[in-house]
């Protein structure tokens, strides 16, 4: 096989792995709840594909090939483990299904897998890492980098979480209507956390961070496909698409940070903004508001600037007010303060900031950045300098740090 044909086979394997990973893991693990073995089996199948496909050609139905190969490996793995869940009837079931599913589509259990990853019995801090690994196939080292923990620690935490899924009686099922809203919130939070990490890490050069934001959008699209009538799923997708639309405008060509209200709107992606707006309109028409729809609505007002040339801060403040009522996090309260300051003046914004418990903000960078900006506008220069120092000292992104240093001026 020639070099370019080999490359194309490898690209096919990569593409099939990306598109089918979650479906195959979900399907293989839904009976035994043994996610770790399902992943091992799938990675064995991918290794086999790398060996066989370049030699024999890509099979007509690559996904079915991977499923067959993974299932052989999975049955071996589960049998060798000799754990309680791997009962003979389960294995029998797997073998029987093996016979029939080769010829037809196998069910998409990814929704169940998403709910398992964000199950209330699992440490909330592990919801996003579990999703990134089991649904998207990201390796522990990459997840560890994004979450700023050591790869070894992240690996151990993932193993512990999967053991809990297998042995802790967590069911592979879509929750009943009654508990669905709350369970869905956890899934949405976990997807948004992946996006936020991708976003924060996007220091221009940081490629892994960038990918993670794209993975989060991918996850939201999968979820929307599975739950098309849930307004908050559309809200989350709209929010992320609005942010994604501005990616190119967030830095100057030489890498300097540009705050949202100074971004060149000509560099925003209109197709992404249009798509975000369509989802948001559809979500609002379903008549049930929620946190992600409100956040998307705020971004939608910012996006209006591309058309009108101005920012309707009063509208943003109203959306933030509702948002703080249902989700009074440090982030929403800081955003509310910034919006109020623009709509009603810096004193009003500062009053909102003063209402936040000082213990909560000692390491929260955006609070100090907004505070510095408002104090500066009020002419309180020495207090402003102190707040600028806190914001600079807490900044991780060198471009943001340089931007703030420049605004602060020399001591």
């Amino acid at each position: 096989m020639s070099g370019s044909a080999l490359d194309s086979t490898h690209r096919t394997i990569e593409r099939v792995a990306r598109e089918s990973y979650g479906r195959l893991v979900a399907y293989l693990s839904s009976h035994t709840r043994d996610v770790a073995s399902a992943e091992d089996a799938l990675s064995n199948a991918l290794v086999a594909a790398l060996k066989v496909w370049p030699r024999d050609g890509v099979p007509q139905n690559p996904e079915a090939w991977l499923l067959t190969t993974a299932r052989h490996s999975f049955i071996d793995l589960v049998r060798h483990q000799q754990v309680a869940v791997a009962s003979e009837p389960t294995l029998q079931l797997l073998r029987e299904e093996h016979e029939v599913t080769l010829s037809r589509e196998f069910p998409d259990d990814r929704l169940k897998l998403l709910f398992v990853c964000a199950h209330p019995a699992i440490d909330p801090a592990m919801h996003t890492p579990l999703m990134l690994q089991t649904v998207l196939g990201l390796d522990a080292a990459r997840i560890a980098g994004a979450f700023l923990v050591s790869p070894k620690t992240m690996g151990q935490r993932l193993v512990r979480a999967k053991t809990k899924i297998r042995d802790g009686g967590i069911q592979f099922e879509v929750p009943q209507e009654r508990e669905l809203p709350q369970r869905l919130d956890a899934v949405l939070e976990a997807i948004y956390a992946a996006f936020g990490i991708g976003w924060d890490d996007m220091a221009g050069a940081d490629q892994p961070g960038r990918d993670l934001a794209e993975e989060a959008i991918w996850l939201a699209r999968v979820l929307l496909q599975l739950l098309p009538d849930k307004a908050e799923v559309r809200g989350l997708l709209a929010l992320m698409l609005h942010c994604e639309a501005r990616r190119g405008a967030r830095r100057t060509p030489d890498g300097r940070y540009v705050p949202l209200s100074n971004q060149d709107t000509k560099q925003w992606s209109l197709p992404l903004i249009d798509e975000a707006e369509r989802h948001l309109t559809e979500a609002f028409s379903q008549g049930r508001s929620g946190r992600f729809q409100l956040e998307a609505a705020i971004q939608s007002v910012h996006a209006e600037r591309a058309r009108t040339g101005r920012i309707d801060w009063a509208a943003i403040a109203v959306f933030y007010e509702q948002l703080v009522r249902i989700s009074p996090t440090l982030g929403t309260r800081t955003g509310y303060a910034a919006a109020i300051a623009e709509a009603r003046g810096p004193e009003a914004g500062l009053a909102v900031l003063d209402g936040i418990d000082p213990d909560d903000i000692s390491a929260y960078q955006p609070y100090w950045a907004v505070r510095a900006h408002l104090l500066r506008r009020l002419g309180k220069s020495s207090e402003a300098d102190g707040a600028f120092d806190r914001a600079i000292g807490l900044a991780e992104d060198p471009a943001v740090r340089d931007f703030l240093l420049q605004k602060r001026g020399n001591p």
Partner: protein, 122 residues
């Protein structure tokens, strides 16, 4: 728990020490130090003189071997250390990520070893 942040800096970062103190790198360190101090985690620390001022000593076959320069021949060199008191390694890694040296050099986080110290000091 106590942690050491071992700060490895690039040649450019060492060069910034010769400035009048208004350069962005020094400004970032000033702000970083202030944030650390106000967070209550800061126990101590110091910058080290530039690597060329180092001298290494070892005894080999009973003889003193003395060399000019730092021990390791790497691009980034140990430029200082910070001792922090924090609830977890996660918090220590957060502070390491905020360190101005992390974007041009490298910051190593190591827990202090009180048990090893106890065996020595009794």
């Amino acid at each position: 728990m106590q942690f050491a942040l071992l700060v490895y800096e690039s040649p450019d970062a060492f060069a910034a020490r010769k400035s009048d103190g208004t350069d962005p790198y020094t400004g970032a360190w000033r702000a970083y130090h202030k944030s650390l101090a106000e967070s209550g985690a800061y126990l101590g620390g110091d910058p080290l003189e530039v690597p060329e001022t180092g001298t290494t000593v070892r005894i080999k076959e009973g003889k003193r071997r003395v060399q000019d320069g730092p021990f390791a021949d790497t691009k980034e060199q140990l430029g200082g250390f910070i001792i922090l008191d924090l609830p977890s390694i996660d918090a220590a890694l957060d502070w390491a990520a905020r360190c101005p040296a992390a974007s041009a050099g490298v910051v190593e986080v190591r827990p202090l070893a009180p048990a090893a110290k106890g065996r020595i000091t009794g």
